[in-house]
Symmetry: C2
Subunit: 254 residues, 2 copies
């Protein structure tokens, strides 16, 4: 059987430990091409580079069999560029991550990791974003490995092509309780802006904040993660609100 | 009756003609505070600034009664900062635009204009993104004005708070045929990367591309716009795929 072609990317940049772990796992499954940002791109959402130039660089970071490139752009740029310019055929799977930090609930909107997966989905490529609820650069990705392996194999074996998954792992040292298929929990960030003064006396601000979960449903990703499960949210890029669509039919605008 | 408080933003930057038109219309409806990027932010998707500092500047661009600020960040940053740091109460409405260019179909994902509207929606603020299907800086926004006015008044008068609308105007010189409530059409960008050589001999790339509509349903935004209607897509930031959620319940992952 022909080996699957797997595109690997992330938003923490090509040297991030989470990406290196993901490459290692994918090398067991297929032919791996890595196209990742040359610098951290967290919080980039679905940004694409249209007002600036892009640089491509061939990389050799470890002794693995994968092909690697870095791009001076966003995660969505990496996926677009890989599919149009680097790969000689459409990949069988695109995986993004493993992100250092949560992409559950509303974080899917801000996430560079998930924007790469969504971009692949728009291109008709099955895709999965993986994130660990631990922001540390030295986080322990070990417990995620067997789960990532089996989730990828399962997705590769499915007939349908429109699969985009947002997979999050709780940050626990012992074993996960299992996998839950979930909905995106409703939540938001209670932001704070910390004001500081530059050495030249100019005011500037840093965004800080705290995630607020507004959702107590048991079928959400926040519930699953809080209770020690790996959460998988199937993602759609059709942002139409069906509820709004039905309600607005009765509106009179004048 | 108390005047509504309206937050105005965009992604083309605080001096963009489309924004100035929107401010002019909003001044007829309520008390207007403008918080917009200090430079163009097209294609920024839902990016937020977490690895860099933000600068705020009080602006005075014309003689209107509105209060104006520019921020060295993305459209989503502008909305977050306005709500947390500038406004003394939650605004009654957030409007974004008028964008110089289409945000119909899949463009909602890449759009800075719509990310500002979605960010306001996450914060529980009714919001509307407006876009004209004309990329020219000198585009004629005149035909949009009465529509924007009546759409905003209608939304302000609704009891429900979870309203996020993606409004697109066809680029026509005569009258619009009316308004259609639509679904986001399925489509994608057929990208091309144009390779060039810098004066120092380094290769670089520009993203170019062509939008491909894959959707012939008559209730989509692409259909409405093509046939001369103003399209309104009600937007949800819950990206859960209901179809995927139901299908995946039967998956066995091991």
């Amino acid at each position: 059987m022909k080996k699957p072609l797997i595109l690997v990317t992330n938003d923490d940049g090509i040297t991030a430990p989470g990406l290196r772990v993901l490459i290692h796992i994918m090398n067991k499954i297929g032919d791996v091409v890595v196209v990742a940002p040359d610098s951290p791109q967290s919080g980039m959402g679905h940004a694409i580079t249209i007002n600036d130039t892009l640089y491509l660089k061939k990389e050799k970071i470890d002794n693995g069999p994968q092909c690697e490139y870095s791009i001076s752009g966003t995660p969505a740029d990496c996926v677009k560029f890989a599919i149009r310019e680097i790969l000689d055929r459409k990949p069988d799977l695109c995986v993004s991550g493993i992100n250092h930090g949560a992409n559950s609930s509303i974080n899917v909107i801000y996430s560079g990791t998930m924007s790469a997966a969504v971009e692949a989905g728009i291109e008709g490529v099955k895709s999965i974003g993986f994130s660990l609820l631990n922001y540390s650069w030295d986080a322990n990705f070990k417990p995620c490995e067997s789960y990532i392996y089996k989730i990828c194999l399962t997705v590769l074996n499915k007939k349908e092509s429109n699969i985009i998954l947002n997979v999050n792992f709780p940050s626990i040292t012992n074993k996960f309780k299992g996998i839950k298929v979930c909905r995106q929990a409703k939540g938001y960030w209670e932001d704070n802006y910390e004001k500081r003064i530059s050495p030249l006396g100019k005011e500037y601000y840093w965004l800080t904040g705290k995630f607020i979960n507004q959702d107590d449903r048991k079928d959400t990703d926040e519930w699953a993660l809080k209770h020690g499960y790996v959460s998988i949210v199937p993602v759609s890029y059709d942002m139409t609100s069906n509820e709004g669509f039905n309600k607005m039919k009765e509106w009179i605008i004048d």
